[in-house]
Amino acid sequence: MSQPRNIGLAHGAGGLLTDRLVRDIFLRHLGNPLLDRLGDSALLPGALLGAAAAPPGLAFTTDGFVVSPRRFPGGDLGSLAVNGTVNDLAVAGALPRFLSLSVILEEGLALEELDELVCSLARAAREAGVQVVTGDTKVVGRGAGDGAFFVTAGIGPLRPGVPELLPTPQPGDGILVSGPVGDHGATILALRSAIDPGPGLRSDCAAVTPLVDALFAQGIYPAFLRDPTRGGLSSTLSELAGSSGMTLRLQEEALPVRREVEAVSDLLGVDCLHLACEGRVVAVVPAAQVQAALAAWHGLPAGAGAALIGWIDRQEGGAARVLLQTRMGGLRVVDRPAAQPLPRIC
């Protein structure tokens, strides 16, 4: 019974082990003030970039995509590789502009499939208003990869006019989500478990830039803005509780979750709040701006299902945590997933 000596799948699940891996290996060797913030994107201030860039500066990010299956209702490896990176830039307050694309292909992959994936990637890039401006191709032998892995990096200017010092979450602030949660994770989990997703279940894979634009256009600068991908809503909100030292109170009744997502979660014994979204945004805004923010989102097709799901509360002794008032009137702690969701038997 020892500490793991090899990489396990849990190291990639976004939980405690991922944290430890990042800190004990990557930050230990690579740490610097820009990386140490561990944001979804690095924010490169104009001053650091010299004359080449105008203030306020740039956001820069990268992400690897290894989804299996590569094609799923609502998206595929190609669209995911664009939207995942675009969304990291968008929630950092940047305007996504340029992407790099590095593909690692396994010997034997059908050219026709690659063509389709890249075609889809191109469509997603057009929709998100970004261009792929540099790239790389590598092929590995059969067995050394799982068909195709895509890695994208993205860069874009920070939005002009956004205050440099964003507010920190305050008691009474509202917690908003832009649409139903867990769609992407439930779709992938259903496919992997040989459950037919049917017409009602599809990935929410999309660029969230319009959702972010809509808030900023109203002069709403959220104290917290994130796309709840790996680890789902629970991971994102637990992180917020940890970093802000606040208690978060959620209302289950208000949480938008599709009945199909709930059904998959029930059958496989996973928590739908642990399932990834790929086209949603979580925002924390002052109480006075909650209605305006919701109205801004409801005006967009992607934000039609937006909802106020809870409030920031003062921390009352003990550790900051996320508490969910259940539909039944009970109360539970919402936790980060320990590792990737696996079907349970007990």
Binding site: M1, Q3, P4, R5, N6, G8, L9, A10, P171, G172, G174, A190, S193, A194, I195, D196, P197, G198, P199, G200, L201, R249, Q251, R259, E260, E262, A263, V264, D266, L267, L268, G269, A287, V290, L308, W311, D313, E316, G317, G318, A319, R321, L323, L324, Q325, T326, R327, M328, G329, G330, L331, R332, D335, A338, A339, L342, P343, R344, I345, C346
Partner: protein, 383 residues
């Protein structure tokens, strides 16, 4: 593709209706047993649902529900997990396992041995392991057969359905009634009744429990897994306590028959024979495990691969207090190992293995009564 998500979503019961649940909670609150009551459930899924819906918050202050040894994955002894790990590490077989067994800490967890190169695959049933074996006729596949009566019958069904010759089993099935009996023999037992596991009783029926209830003067109720099912069961238990009427109520009649699933029971009776078996943290419990009968002995992976479980791995730390914590005689804070030698990453007993176990829950969220003020429905933005 077996069933569409649509069909699953349509098949939900009204036992999740918040109005129904609140009504049952109010009915419970109106009962007055005149003292504190403590019931134990013995099912991981009961704990999962109770936690997930925050049902403990709906119970009157005199009613406590504690988690017994109800998670088969948590009580699976290290020596048996280790058989799977060794088979995988030695490259002798593909190890097919239920997902939640994968992360259970042992000398090396199955996730860790996969990281070291073993071929460990997650399946959702014994039948899934048979399908895997048929698709890879050149490889040996070993299924780690854990679970209570509920999954034992599915292992038996595969054994009876002409299994592929390259499939074998590490048997870690456990039976619920012997464990209850063992716990009940504790001299300081402080329980008023048991919420019996609906899944296990769907297979096994309720016949075995009645004599146990009567001989020990216990109150028992079989409950399902939706929030209203759990409260139905608790209400029946409270009423039995108030009337001082030992016995078993079946509150899950949409699934459980008195004699259970007779076909499944016949499968189990034909394929397996009971044997004394170790439980993580609880020691060996007589006739609580299953071995293959002679007719099916060739399906046993230990004989096929010449393995013997290293039972020295199972010797519980003498300081481990899981049995007393399971019985509600002690809180985790009263265990000398808790939080020091025993943590979620290095658990000794079953209470720390499962995220839903009493010790793991205490470890992650130490209870601070002042910290969970009564939930308010409309507290947002008004302060």
């Amino acid at each position: 593709m077996t069933k569409s998500v649509q069909q699953l979503a349509d098949g939900r019961t009204s036992q999740r209706d918040p109005r129904l649940v609140r009504g049952l909670a109010e009915a419970l609150a109106r009962r007055d047993p005149g003292r504190k009551l403590r019931f134990m459930h013995v099912c991981g899924t009961h704990e999962h649902e109770i936690s997930r819906y925050g049902l403990r918050r709906l119970l009157p202050p005199w009613l406590e529900v504690i988690a017994g040894p109800g998670c088969p994955v948590c009580v699976c002894p290290v020596s048996e997990l280790d058989l799977g790990a060794q088979l995988g590490l030695q490259g002798k077989a593909i190890v097919a396992t239920f997902g939640d067994l994968e992360r259970v800490p042992a000398r090396l967890s199955l996730a860790e041995v996969r990281a070291q190169g073993a071929d460990v695959r997650v399946v959702t049933s014994a039948a899934g392991a048979a399908t895997l074996a048929r698709s890879l006729p050149g490889r040996q596949v070993v299924f780690l057969a854990v679970g209570f009566e509920t999954t034992a019958c599915t292992t038996a069904a595969v054994a009876l359905a002409d299994p592929p010759p390259n499939l074998s089993f590490v048997l870690s099935h456990r039976l619920v009634p012997p464990a209850l009996e063992a716990l009940l023999s504790h001299p300081a037992l402080a329980l008023d009744g048991f919420l019996l596991p609906g899944h296990v009783c769907t297979v096994q029926g309720t016949e075995e429990y009645a004599p146990l209830a009567l001989s020990k003067g216990l109150k028992m109720a079989v409950a399902g897994f939706e929030p209203a099912d759990v409260l139905d069961g608790l209400l029946a238990l409270v009423d039995r306590v108030i009337a001082d009427r030992p016995g078993v109520d079946n509150c899950y009649t949409r699934s459980v028959r008195t004699s259970g699933n007779t076909a499944a029971r016949a499968f189990v009776a034909r394929v397996f024979t009971p044997l004394d078996a170790p439980w993580r943290g609880l020691g060996t419990i007589p006739r609580s495990g299953l071995a293959f009968t002679e007719e099916f002995a060739h399906l046993d992976a230990t004989s096929r691969f010449g393995l013997t479980p290293d039972r020295s791995l199972d010797v519980p730390d003498r300081a481990c207090r899981c049995d007393e914590i399971l019985l509600g005689l002690r809180t985790p804070a009263g265990c000398p190992l808790f939080g020091r030698a025993c943590t979620p990453e290095h658990p000794h007993g079953p209470c720390m293995v499962s995220l839903e176990g009493t010790c793991a829950a205490w470890y992650r969220h130490p209870p601070e009564p002042a910290e969970l003020p009564a939930a308010r429905h409309d507290d947002g933005g008004q302060r």
